[in-house]
Symmetry: C2
Subunit: 125 residues, 2 copies
Amino acid sequence: MKKRRNTQKQELVLEILANASHTMSAETILEAMPIKINKTTIYRILERFTESGKVHFVTGDDGRAYYALCKQCSSEHDLHNHIHFQCKYCNQIACLPYTINVPELENYEVQETQFLLIGKCKECI
Amino acid sequence: MKKRRNTQKQELVLEILANASHTMSAETILEAMPIKINKTTIYRILERFTESGKVHFVTGDDGRAYYALCKQCSSEHDLHNHIHFQCKYCNQIACLPYTINVPELENYEVQETQFLLIGKCKECI
DNA sequence: GTAACTGCAAAATATTTGCATCCTT
DNA sequence: AAGGATGCAAATATTTTGCAGTTAC
């Protein structure tokens, strides 16, 4: 495993995700950045964090990746098996405190999960 | 609602999906087509079928849309709340005969679901 | 000093849109 | 004949890659 270094930009990404009430796309994180940063860098930071398990992401039905800090995930590298909710109207995706029990499957070895509910959130109802 | 017309190309898309053992991307459907067809047309056919509920799709963690005929879905326009499994190695996505009970949520109105397990399938283990 | 991190430009990929033409009803 | 379906080209949008320059350790 590669030896990671601490940088301000990485810390800022973590901080932004920590304060977020919803999952964030790379674009949104960029906009929330207090300092100048390249979008490619954000993608690479997120890639590293996802790999190490600090962060997880869901793919919205729009095909975009939405990232969240794994606060509610019990441990790093776990299944991230909680539900996400995507509102079709405000397009926000939230992590919900509901965990799905993954069924035992003979023919499949589950490594990650993405549970997404799609509909209308309370702000948009 | 628009009055739909019957065309050979639409029928072929349905037929291909009906015979598929896994979900298919627009690209894969194109490759399976016995006749010449434009990719845009495939996207538009899939869009119409998704809208009418004949077909559903899951978004893989690669951000691509994978389509399937709603054979196992109880009715058109239902939640499509069964599990899908994406193999990271052969990149196939299958519909599994397991349904997830969607929890009652006060603040959200669920219209669709996308349940995706990611890992390794039996062929790749 | 070395390898990790970042920035910039360009490439790759998937999907959408506009518009003209074709074809089902 | 009317309007839905299709094809082609171009536009959008997101994410990835290559490479050079910078910085943490």
